[in-house]
């Protein structure tokens, strides 16, 4: 085997020494690039995972809104069922309320308008005449009180007095 005779390189040391500063710069640059790259990856990964996290939260909130809307509709439906005319009528009957009729308007009419209705007044005046035919003591009471305008209450109070008090008490009175 032939021995290779390499030329004596007297300045090899020198060359090595000359090349030394370059790798350091490269290394630094590489390091910076590496850090930048890693940082980029890190940030990208972070934003990726945070976006997934936000996505999950977002979906949760959307679901929550949907659930609340569903609940709202369900409650609206229940409200409608509870406020159906049939239910209201039942409740009103329990409370002792009666249906509104044409007569209900008398209470809200101004007094002047009331006076303009002679027919009704006439009727009320004529009532006792019709009832008078029966000629009982009670109807007489009704007739008297009826002219005063408080037909029912006074008759009832008279009746109550008769029931509750003894004849002697009434006589004293």
């Amino acid at each position: 085997m032939k021995k290779r005779s390499l030329p004596k390189n007297s300045n090899r040391e020198k060359i090595r020494r000359e090349k030394d500063p370059i790798p350091w710069r490269y290394c630094l640059l590489t390091l910076v690039c590496g850090v930048f790259l890693v940082g980029g990856f890190f940030l990208a990964a972070r934003s990726h995972f945070s976006s997934i996290d936000f996505g999950i939260k977002n979906s949760g909130l959307k679901k929550q809104i949907e659930d609340l809307q569903t609940e709202k509709r369900r409650l609206t439906l229940l409200k409608e069922i509870a406020l159906s005319p049939a239910e209201i009528q039942k409740a009103a009957k329990k409370l002792g309320l009666t249906e509104m009729t044409a007569g209900s308007f008398e209470t809200v009419r101004p007094s002047a308008e009331k006076n303009e209705k002679p027919q009704t007044v006439k009727n009320s005046e004529e009532k006792p005449k019709a009832v008078r035919t029966e000629k009982t003591s009670e109807t007489k009471n009704i007739e008297k009180v009826g002219k005063d305008g408080v037909l029912k209450d006074k008759t009832q109070t008279v009746k109550k007095e008769v029931r509750e008090k003894s004849p002697t008490q009434i006589a004293k009175k």
């Binding site: 439906l77 159906s84 037909l151």
Partner: protein
């Protein structure tokens, strides 16, 4: 030379290093190039396959059906609305032990194990990944089931926390007022498709679209991204009706009571605002519950007020008189000769039990004289009569927003027989729907202007904005003067004629009774045993707030006339509806002492003639007085009515019935004064 060259090369180390470096670079280039080629191959050539695989791993396709639009009444009360419900399904591929799962499920759902195990096994064997287990649970029931089926050791993103089980959202149509306006609203079937009523006619507006979307899930099944592919599509709209739920309820109650009392096959009623054409109530009896439409009889789904057509009978005389008065052919204050008691037209003899004398047109209408109506019709003439019938809206669709509307039958004069005009003048040889009749009376109530009846007030978008509003067409059919004359005549019907039972407590009313024999298709002629009895009226008379039509099909009780069967229902409805509409009373209190004998019969000739004969002289005098005074002033009609009764009361009651009548009449006058004390009345009685 080559040896020398070799030597030279070998001798140059830089060259060698460069060569090696280039070799390495080439290797790298090849490697990166290979990778690049592979990447290009994967990303371009195999893009679709790989993308599909990737999506399949993380993405679910979601099909969501939008909730069907809501139907509201005029006061924004929901008559039909959809709510979300949950249905439970299983994915057999995710279930390892089918038997244990079936046992647990059967326990939770309270069903037999075999009922669950069998479909699960079949699905697993067939490779299916979807099996319904239980459907349409409300939120509360679903929550309870989630608690029952919870497996705490299992990591699963969605509920129930049980292997292979999932919820799927569906929707359920609910009708909160059950039977209320069932035929108007209709119903939608299990596939959420409208099958009757507004649900059917407004299907396009109400229907919720199926929205396709996707959801990206992480390894735990949590959704982290989602989107819908059809976001641009408009959501379904809501429909606001002109119906008032409380009035509808009252009308239905009154109609049900009326149908039961008359023992009728069915009944229908319409309440309409004449000025706007809005339908406040549209009732049918018998009815059904749209929440349980599967259990109901299909014939009850039909909205008879628009779908069924019938011979109207005497209520159609309005058109007869209307056409003649408007053309100046007759004078409403004039008289007509009815002395014969019958009329013969083209060999057909029309008997008239109600009239055997000269009488005014108002009286003729009041007693529903056929002779007078036929004579008027004949005077009016074929073409004129036909034109007016058309202008009133007969023989054509009203255009109401309801499905399967019948236009009725109004033949052209070319096809008429010799007696057709006479028959049509009294409401035969023509078929109409209840809505058409109500619309005709509404025309008179609205001073001769016909407003197209409608039931949809407006259509709103999901966010509540008004999308469209119904604008009804208006047509002048007769002049305002004619309309006023007809109203006066109709008023007479209620005061002294066949419609006495339509007198209202506190309000004036006007209307017309009608009793027609039904046509028998088998016999090809009218069946004298079957009637359609109707009353169509308006109140208050001067400025009507409502027009009410009541039609009874085949009443089978003792009384079958419109005046006896339908007029009381009209009264019931009007007395409840008018105060609710805040209409100020314009009349006096009602005399409730009327009996069938006092009301001229609309149909039965023998009975009616008998009634006329039995009438005492005092009665006829009284009637004459009342009529005269009525002509003087329409406003003072009621007191005269009262006087009329008092005159009846004067002679001591020969029978107890009359005596009882007196008391009832007097007490009824008292009612408004002492309305709060029902007991008071009883005491006096």
């Amino acid at each position: 030379m080559s040896k020398r060259a070799k030597k030279k090369t070998l001798k140059n180390p830089m060259q060698t290093a460069f060569t090696r470096f280039m070799l390495i670079v080439a290797l790298f280039v090849l490697w990166i190039g290979g990778i690049g080629v592979r990447l290009v191959h994967l990303q371009i050539n195999q893009h679709e396959i790989l993308r599909g695989k990737a999506l399949n791993q993380r993405r679910d396709t979601v099909k969501e059906k939008q909730l069907r639009g809501t139907i509201y009444d005029r006061s924004e009360r929901a008559l039909a609305m959809s709510v979300k419900v949950k249905s439970l399904y299983a994915d057999p591929a995710e279930i390892e032990d089918l038997e244990t799962t079936a046992k647990d499920l059967a326990k939770a759902l309270k069903v037999k194990t075999a009922e669950i195990l069998k479909p699960l096994k079949e699905a697993k064997d067939a490779g299916k990944r979807f099996v319904w287990l239980a459907r349409k649970f409300d939120e509360e029931a679903a929550r309870k089931l989630n608690e029952t089926l919870e497996n705490k050791d299992l990591k699963k993103a969605d509920l129930p926390r049980f292997a292979g089980l999932h919820w799927k959202e569906e929707q359920k149509r609910s009708y909160p007022y059950n039977t209320l306006a069932a035929q108007v609203i209709g119903f939608s079937n299990a596939d959420d498709i409208g099958n009757a009523g507004i649900e059917q006619s407004q299907e396009e507006i109400l229907r919720g679209a199926v929205i396709k979307g996707w959801q990206d899930r992480d390894r735990l099944g949590r959704v982290y991204d989602e989107s819908s592919e059809d976001e641009e599509r408009e959501p379904p709209k809501n429909v606001v009706l002109t119906i008032s739920n409380s009035i509808q309820y009252k009308v239905e109650q009154a109609l049900e009571k009326g149908v039961k009392e008359a023992n009728a096959k069915s009944g229908m009623a319409i309440v309409m605002i004449p000025q706007t054409g809005e339908i406040l109530a549209m009732a049918n009896y018998p009815t059904f519950d749209p929440n349980k439409f599967n259990e109901a009889a299909p014939e009850n789904f039909v909205n008879r007020t628009v779908h069924d057509s019938y011979s109207p009978g005497s209520v159609f005389k309005l058109v007869t008189y209307g056409s003649a008065i408007n053309e100046g052919i007759i004078n409403p204050n004039g008289e007509v000769d009815c002395t014969k008691g019958f009329i013969e037209v083209a060999g057909h003899r029309f008997n008239d039990p109600h009239a055997t004398k000269w009488m005014g047109y108002d009286e003729a209408l009041a007693v529903s004289s056929n002779v007078a109506a036929i004579k008027t019709g004949l005077l009016s003439g074929k073409e004129n009569f036909y034109n007016y019938a058309q202008r009133f809206g007969f023989g054509q669709l009203t255009g109401i927003e309801l499905p399967a509307e019948a236009g009725g039958i109004l033949r052209s004069p070319k096809g008429w027989n010799g007696d057709s005009l006479a028959s049509m003048s009294i409401g035969y040889e023509i078929s109409v729907s209840a809505l058409q009749m109500a619309s005709a009376y509404a025309t008179i109530a609205n001073d001769g202007i016909r407003v197209q009846p409608h039931i949809i007030k407006e259509i709103r978008s999901a966010d509540g904005k008004v999308f469209s509003t119904t604008e009804a067409q208006k047509t002048q059919v007769v002049t305002a003067d004619t309309a006023r004359s007809l109203k006066k005549m109709l008023r007479q019907v209620v005061l002294t004629g066949t419609g006495k039972r339509a007198q209202l407590n506190g309000y004036t009313s006007a209307g017309k009774t009608g009793t027609a024999w039904k046509y028998n298709a088998k016999l090809k002629k009218v069946d004298s045993g079957k009637y359609v009895s109707s009353f169509i009226g308006m109140a208050p008379m001067d400025n009507p707030s409502v027009v009410i039509a009541v039609v009874m099909d085949e009443p089978q009780g003792g009384a079958r006339d419109g005046g006896q069967v339908s007029a009381p229902v009209f009264r019931d409805i009007a007395e409840q509806v008018l105060p609710e509409l805040n209409v100020v009373p314009d009349g006096n209190t009602r005399l409730d002492s009327l009996t069938a004998e006092e009301i001229p019969s609309d149909v039965e000739p023998a009975a009616a003639v008998k009634d006329v004969k039995l009438k005492s002289e005092s009665d006829s005098e009284k009637t004459a007085k009342v009529e005269k005074s009525d002509k003087k002033s329409a406003d003072t009609e009621k007191p005269k009515d009262l006087k009329e009764t008092k005159k009846e009361d004067k002679p001591p009651a020969k029978n107890n019935k009359n005596g009882a009548k007196q008391k009832t009449a007097v007490l009824n006058i008292e009612i408004p004064k002492n309305k709060s004390s029902g007991n008071d009345r009883e005491e006096k009685t």
